[in-house]
Assembly symmetry: C2
Homo-oligomer: 282 residues x 2
DNA sequence: AGCCTCGGTTCCGGTCTCCGGAACGGTTGG
DNA sequence: CCAACCGTTCCGGAGACCGGAACCGAGGCT
């Protein structure tokens, strides 16, 4: 059942060690983190290097190789969501002046598939591809709110880590919060993942009406408080609906006649390509 | 010496099978392409799926997982080149109206790390992360021209595949072409990789003065011919110098006094982060 | 200078992993 | 209704793969 290849699993964990965004890692450091012998790590690295998945750095360390970049771009190429969200994110940042992003559910986290940095941002960093928890982010709450009971149960069973004193850690409290989120159609999170940052998110729906992603705006609390909550919520919700429409979703208003050609560059497929392990729920 | 882990190598080749840009692949199909048994492929897939590197599609096939996307973004985050080239690519496309891209050398190919589609383009496709041959593209010629003799020899030894009747396949002819490229500071390729498309490229230099990438403009031949060759070459060469400067390169004109702070957002590191297996040549 | 530490690389033996082949349901299409 | 193809599971034997230890080179501290 869990027939899993040990060395392949080790290789995958090795690659994921670079998700810490460290530029290079050495053999001993990796051996320590993976709990493997140096020789095993060395073999893994030489094998992966031969395939181009890692590359040696000039200083003797190892880094991710360009093939990994290629593979990442191959994933992006199949994400309808990415194409649909781009222009909407630009608009959303213009309206709010803050960072905006789109995230999908993957396993027990939300992964930002696209992101635009705030105009206030000191330095523009390519921050897409980040993975953040579900229970303490606005995007995560949106995705959790539409999850099936059994899946939610699984998440709760793993425990809710308290990232700050304001993180919701009580399963009951989280359920109540999710019910409220479902009710009002948007979610927020203030000080829950990191002190000083806040965000507000709304759902993105695929053609079938299922929630396939969340779109959100995040900012330092001081600037976040400066925007009237209702106005911000309307902006984000409308942005979510805009992305949904570009994905081929039709709102409940036109459920009668044959549909005219819809607006944007939406795909004609009936299932949304979100490419998530868990995003394909019905 | 070549101590390589078989199953890890198989896993890597499996992942790279998705570089064909097919959305999903099945067990049998992969087994056929990799020359492995179905059970072995199945085991590889379940292992990779457990790590999030692949995900099951709703129709039973497998696709790349979001972790791959995350890893790709982690690579991009460390590419100074990406940040430095962005604005220059925008400008270059404005000047020429055609697709422009930046590529680096990896093994025996050039990988486009960033790309802007022509404004004429019918559909905007995310085409970054593509890998193209060296000997029949303008970018490839730029990178080949600065290569050490022994590395060039290795490339030639693998043989030059004729993608079209116009592809340069004679080692001698290629050497002459590369000498001409070095001489005039830019390269072009017309009908050499694919009939009907042409491109022109110029070098991008790191702080040390070594060529670390190539910047190029490509277009259908009819539109390509409409632009005066000298004007196009100047545009591309100047774009290459602009990127180089943003990377911290200082042209030969100020080699005397202590340098004032340079223009853009260039890194202060003395070695360029191109993240290529072969790009770190001295 | 000399020693000591820490990094990457290599070698080796024993265990358990991992591959191929074959059989098993489910589904599609003829 | 059978045939073909898919994904999945099971099994046995060959050999791959892990850990430990030794080797080497580079800094750094006394």
């Amino acid at each position: 059942m869990d027939a899993t290849l040990q060395s392949v699993s080790n290789a995958a964990r090795l690659l994921k060690a670079f998700l810490s965004r460290e530029e290079t890692l050495g053999v001993s450091e990796l051996a320590r983190r993976l709990g493997l012998g140096k020789s095993a790590v060395h073999r893994l690295l030489t094998t992966l290097a031969a395939e181009g998945l890692v590359a040696r750095d000039s200083d003797g360390g190892y880094r991710l190789g360009l093939v990994v970049f290629e593979l990442g771009e191959a994933v992006r190429a199949h994400m309808d969501l990415h194409g649909a969200a781009g222009p909407v994110l630009v608009e959303l940042r213009e309206q709010t002046g803050e960072s905006s992003q789109v995230g999908v559910l993957d396993d027990d986290a939300v992964v930002y598939v696209d992101r635009l940095e705030s105009s206030h941002s000191l330095r523009l960093m390519h921050d897409a591809g980040r993975r953040v928890p579900l229970h303490c982010t606005s995007s995560g709450k949106i995705l959790l709110a539409e999850l099936g009971e059994e899946h939610l149960e699984r998440i709760l069973a793993r425990g809710l880590r308290a990232h700050t004193p304001h993180t919701i850690v009580e399963p009951g409290a989280l359920r109540a919060e999710l019910a409220a989120v479902r009710e009002r159609g948007w979610a927020d999170a203030v000080n829950e993942r990191e002190l000083g940052v806040a965000s507000l998110a709304a759902p993105v729906r695929g053609p079938g009406g299922a929630v396939v992603a969340a779109i959100s705006v995040g900012a330092p609390i001081t600037r976040f408080r400066a925007i009237p909550r209702q106005r911000l919520a309307r902006c984000v919700v409308e942005a979510g609906e805009a992305v949904s429409r570009r994905l081929g979703w039709v709102p409940e208003d036109e459920r009668d006649r044959s549909r005219g050609p819809s607006s944007g560059a939406g795909s004609s497929s009936s299932t949304v390509r979100t490419n998530g392990r868990e995003a394909a729920h019905v």
